[in-house]
């Protein structure tokens, strides 16, 4: 699980349409720039956020993204929490396998997003929903 103190209140963005995925991306980029992540880390985090937001929309039937700057005493980072109350993920290991897809995509979204961030935590229950928490730390 991720550690660290929140810097300021998290900003919440609802995810209900394709446009909201773009808004999540812009919000994450703004916070990442404010947290002084490097350009590579910004791009990685924004891409991961884009994947997870789209998963929230397509598989979770919509939800929210909470974006906040965090500080663990040594370094600063950005934490994003994606929450939906969709059908959940029945087989997590399978869902995290490269190339496995149920939505007609490349099957790299969830597994790829995990490789793009530093901390990745997923809580899911069938028919209850999914909550994914990711954090990217500055180096």
């Amino acid at each position: 699980m991720t550690a660290g103190v929140d810097l300021g209140a998290p900003q919440t963005q609802a995810i209900r349409s394709d446009d909201d995925v773009v808004r999540v991306r812009q919000l994450v980029r703004t916070v990442a720039v404010a947290t002084k992540l490097s350009l590579v880390d910004q791009t990685k985090l924004v891409t991961a956020a884009s994947e997870l937001a789209r998963n929230t929309l397509i598989h979770g039937g919509g939800g929210t993204a909470d974006v906040a700057g965090v500080d663990d005493g040594r370094r600063r980072g950005v934490r994003i929490v994606f929450t939906d109350s969709g059908p959940g993920i029945p087989d997590l290991d399978l869902a995290l396998t490269d190339g496995y897809t149920t939505g007609g995509g490349l099957g790299l979204g969830l597994s790829g997003a995990r490789r793009l961030v530093d901390d990745f935590d997923i809580v899911t229950a069938v028919d209850e929903g999914t909550r994914i928490t990711v954090t990217k730390w500055s180096r």
């Binding site: 394709d18 773009v22 991306r25 980029r29 350009l39 590579v40 910004q42 791009t43 990685k44 924004v46 891409t47 884009s50 994947e51 789209r54 490269d98 995509g105 490349l106 790299l108 979204g109 597994s111 790829g112 997003a113 490789r115 793009l116």
Partner: protein
């Protein structure tokens, strides 16, 4: 119905009798709400026009803004809100130009006890409310048409396919590549390939801020479609941070040629077609 015939006549008298004072006070109130973002002369002209068309309307026995007698007044209001919407004023800043008249009238009535009673004022107030709502609606309509125009312009502007060499076309992608735009890009590219008979296409993603799996999939599909038509695609504009992200995501571009810049991609194509060598030979010979 907002006004009775009697009230309408009373209103006409009030508007005409105190015309000068009314216009001055009205302009002042509107000017203070707009904080000098519109020139005083322009504002005074608008208020005078509004005042004139109101007098015209109530003298013709206007009882309701939607009635026939309100035609000219509606046109003036619509013109006013269109102007404000295009100049970037907010909806309340536009509507206040109309609502300010209430304050002016109230002041007039307080000064002159014979000017009218509360009942008249309430009836008149209802007419101003109607006018305000009408202004608001025209404002929103103008804004909506502006937004629709811009969205259309943006879609056109965002997907040019340019011929950069004999037999080479390039698609510079800028911004977010969603499904709708990806479809437009693919259609334009394939059509241009047919029209120009080009065997090579360069897809430049310098202007794409983040390449996620959806964007990559759209690009891959476009490349495959172009290949089916016998054209070779090169992807250019892959910046360092995008390259690292693509690797971490695990996206594979397979045997598709990728280059860091558009210039590299063009050089690559020219080398493949032998144009480069031919020109060098020419230069040596001459």
């Amino acid at each position: 119905m907002a006004l009775s015939a009697e009230e309408s006549g009373w209103l006409a008298r009030l508007l005409t009798k105190n015309a000068e004072q009314l216009i001055r006070r009205w302009t002042e109130l509107v000017a203070s709400s707009l904080r000098g973002r519109l020139s005083h002369a322009e504002l005074a002209r608008q208020v005078q026009e509004l005042h004139r068309s109101m007098i015209g309307a109530v003298e013709n026995g206007l009882t309701d803004l939607d009635s026939e007698q309100g035609g000219e007044l509606r046109a003036v209001l619509a013109e006013l809100s269109r102007g404000r919407a295009r100049q970037g004023f907010s909806a309340s800043e536009t509507a206040i130009s109309v609502f300010a008249l209430k304050d002016v009238l109230l002041e007039l009535m307080e000064e002159d006890q014979n000017a009218g009673n509360l009942r008249d004022f309430v009836a008149f107030s209802a007419l101003i409310d109607q006018m305000g709502l009408f202004t608001f609606e025209s404002f929103v309509r103008t804004r909506e048409s502006l937004i629709a125009d811009q969205a259309e312009q943006l879609l056109e502007l965002s997907t040019p396919v340019v011929k950069i060499w004999e037999g080479v076309v390039a698609v510079p992608l800028v911004g977010t590549l969603d499904s709708a735009r990806a479809q437009v890009v693919m259609e334009r590219l394939l059509q241009t390939l047919v029209d120009t008979g080009s065997p090579y296409a360069i897809i430049d993603i310098t202007g794409v801020p983040a390449v996620d799996t959806q964007v990559a999939q759209h690009i891959l599909k476009t490349v495959v479609a172009a290949r089916l038509m016998g054209a070779d695609c090169i992807i250019s504009g892959i910046r360092p941070q995008i390259a690292q992200t693509i690797v971490a995501l695990g996206i594979e571009f397979g045997d598709i040629a990728t280059k860091a810049s558009l210039a590299d991609a063009l050089r690559h194509v020219l080398r493949l077609t032998g144009v480069d060598n031919a020109r060098r030979h020419q230069r040596r010979e001459s």
